[in-house]
């Protein structure tokens, strides 16, 4: 029942994750509905906060003067951020579904999209720290949030995909491997783009 995937349900996932996972286990939402009703708005938060923060205050990356970028450049970076996050959500959901066969946890794509959305929700909300664009502040906010998201991933997979906790642990670890690679790819791609002249002006 896709109707179980509504805002109150997903809000519940933030403070009663186990109950939310149990409800999701019984539902079979369509991926499109999950994405447009919920994931999309969450994914829009980090680029939006980043755009507002960087345009008004500039990123503080350690130096005294904040790094101010042109509005056009900021818009391009923010749209790019949104596209990358959307790609991250879908690729993770698809990889999760692909991996699930190995771990006896097959389920519809909609369930995987919903699961990854719930896991990523705290990170999207914590991106409110982007309004205060200081790298250190963001790192300090994101680290505990990431630990919480990882907890949700390890907790959620066995419940939602109905697989023994040990098998779920293996699958979650494989997904963590993928997410680490995705995170570091994001860093690499950003640097490649900076070197090509998109983003902050570098003397390269």
């Amino acid at each position: 029942m896709s109707s179980t995937i509504n805002l109150s349900f997903l809000l519940k996932s933030l403070y009663q994750p186990v109950e939310a996972f149990e409800a999701l286990a019984k539902a079979d939402p369509s991926p499109g509905r999950v994405f447009f009703r919920y994931s999309l708005w969450l994914l829009a938060l980090p680029p939006l906060f980043a755009l507002i923060g960087a345009a008004n205050f500039g990123w503080r990356i350690g130096a005294e003067d904040p790094l101010m970028m042109e509005t056009n450049s900021l818009l391009v970076v923010s749209v790019g951020y949104f596209i990358v996050l959307s790609f991250g959500l879908f690729s993770t959901a698809i990889i999760s579904r692909w991996m699930a066969a190995t771990y006896g946890a097959s389920a519809s794509l909609g369930k995987h999209v919903a699961l990854i959305t719930i896991v990523g929700a705290p990170l999207a909300i914590a991106s409110i720290a982007h309004l205060f664009p200081d790298v250190l502040v963001n790192v300090l906010v994101m680290i505990p949030t990431m630990i919480w998201s990882m907890y949700l991933l390890y907790k959620g997979i066995p419940i939602v995909l109905d697989t023994p906790p040990e098998r779920g642990m293996l699958m979650a670890s494989s997904l963590v491997g993928w997410l680490l690679v995705a995170a570091v790819s994001l860093l690499g791609i950003s640097m490649g783009l900076w070197t090509m002249g998109l983003g902050p002006s570098l003397g390269v």
Binding site: D65, V135, L170, G177, G192, M196, L202, G203
Partner: protein, 475 residues
């Protein structure tokens, strides 16, 4: 059934030394991490300065912890995969103790300020010669055991350990060729750009064949044993071995991007680094698929978790490395703390975690007694994971900030920020890294206690060499 028994006391002793070096060298790492936050805590003592403690940290981990663990696991597994006791066990004992003596005196020589100034090859010529001699003895014991094997096929872990022994000997001897001047000072045979190319051919392949190849030998023997499953694809492991050996040896010049070495050499190093992703991930997939069918073992075996996570970090590090070897990424990431983060995602996440998982598996088997505390092992797992993640994230943030800041130019084309100011602004990240290091060290100390209580008062149990299945026999 024969009446021969395996020589397991050597492996047990080497594990004890490995754990001691892990604690000592990680403590040195934590201390220099603290020095980056509070520079005055060297108290004006040369031997406590960053410049001397840093090589002590790296050499202690690589040669003290890493090589002792590799010798222990190689001696343990080569006997079992060949169904024969070690060849020349007294020579194996010599390797064990002589190696510890080299690490101990070598460490003291670094504290005393003796150094060749070549990264990861800082030890001066008397130690280099001693290392070469002991390494040859290691090779004699290992290949001698293989030569007298009772099983015809040479199992894949032995190919990796064999590559470790041969290639490290080659790299070590060639890179350390030097003209001695005094007992504590020598000059490299190579100069300038040539020296740089030889040094990074050594440096990168020390990572490749010691920290990757050697530990893959560990993975290929202990993971299937642990999971009680055969390797998912033996054929893939053999293909990955040859692809790994062929492509790794070329990757060194990616340490010298934008340097005074020919551009085609840099491009070659970059290209081969990217190709290297294929064999690295083939092994990762082989490992993950092997363990994926053995999930029920996780219920009773906390050590397997370490191996599962080590594979995730192996996947990360072997992806991150080729990416950082791409010139347009390297121009930002080089000379920043991102490199330090990358090294530690490999060293903490892959090398240390797989070794810890292996030790938790081996020690109870070696002494014939249950692990003292599974609960402590689980706590250790949480600490190791938290420490590694915190370390990597702190260094990613610091590295990207540094890369951005010291490439920033103003409208006149001049550098916007001074090196000193940038470094001063890194203090919070260095504090985070210090906390991460302390967490990881605390976990290692817990493991030392757990293993000590497990092996307390026990010698290695006597294991008789089993009979060989005639299908795999030599005749």
């Amino acid at each position: 059934m024969s009446d021969q028994t395996y020589h397991d006391n050597i492996a047990l002793r080497l594990i004890q030394f490995a754990v001691i070096w892990a604690i000592a060298a990680m403590a040195a790492g934590v201390y220099i991490a603290a020095e980056l936050v509070w520079p005055t805590i060297d108290f004006g003592q040369f031997w406590l300065s960053f410049g001397r403690l840093r090589p002590l940290h790296t050499n202690g981990i690589i040669f003290g912890f890493g090589v002792s663990a590799l010798m222990a696991t190689a001696f343990y597994s080569v006997q079992r995969t060949c169904h024969t006791p070690l060849f020349m066990p007294k020579l194996a004992w010599f390797c064990c103790y002589a190696w510890q003596l080299i690490v101990l005196t070598g460490g003291l020589s670094l504290l005393a300020g003796l150094t060749t100034s070549k990264e990861y090859a800082e030890l001066e010529w008397p130690w280099d010669i001693a290392i070469a001699l002991v390494w040859v003895c290691f090779g004699i014991v290992f290949f001698g055991t293989i030569a007298q094997r009772k099983i015809k096929p040479i199992y894949i872990s032995n190919w990796f350990y064999g590559a470790l022994i041969i290639v490290i000997a080659m790299l070590h001897i060639i890179n350390n060729l030097a003209i001695p001047v005094t007992i504590g000072k020598s000059y490299s045979l190579y100069a300038g750009a040539q020296d740089a190319v030889v040094q990074w051919w050594y440096g990168h392949n020390a990572v490749g064949f010691l920290l990757t190849g050697g530990f893959l030998g560990m993975l290929y023997y202990f993971l299937p044993k642990h999971a009680e499953r055969p390797i998912w694809s033996y054929r893939l492991s053999v293909v990955a071995f040859w692809a790994f050996v062929y492509s790794y040896i070329w990757a060194g010049p990616h340490h010298l991007h934008y340097n005074s070495v020919p551009e085609w050499v840099q491009t070659l190093g970059m290209g081969m680094s990217i190709i290297l992703l294929a064999p690295s991930w083939a092994t990762m997939i082989n490992g993950i698929m092997t363990v994926s069918t053995a999930w029920e073992k996780l219920r009773s075996d906390p050590a397997l978790k370490f191996i599962v996570l080590s594979l995730a970090f192996y996947g990360l590090a072997t992806f991150e490395g080729p990416m950082m070897a791409i010139r347009s990424v390297n121009i930002v990431s080089h000379f920043t703390d991102w490199t330090i983060g990358h090294v530690h995602s490999g060293a903490l996440g892959w090398n240390a975690m797989i070794t810890y998982g292996t030790f938790y598996f081996m020690v109870p088997k070696l002494v014939g007694r249950e692990l003292y505390s599974k609960k402590l092992a689980n706590v250790h797992f949480a600490l190791a994971l938290a420490g590694t993640m915190l370390y990597i994230i702190a260094m990613w943030a610091a590295g990207v900030s540094q890369g951005l800041l010291w490439l920033s130019v103003d409208q006149l084309g001049e550098l916007s920020f001074s090196f000193k100011d940038i470094m001063a602004s890194m203090t919070p990240y260095y504090l985070l890294r210090l906390v991460a290091g302390l967490i990881f060290l605390a976990g290692t100390i817990l493991m030392a206690y757990n293993l000590f209580m497990t092996m307390k008062g026990k010698e290695a149990a006597r294991v008789t060499v089993p009979a060989v299945n005639p299908a795999y026999g030599m005749n």
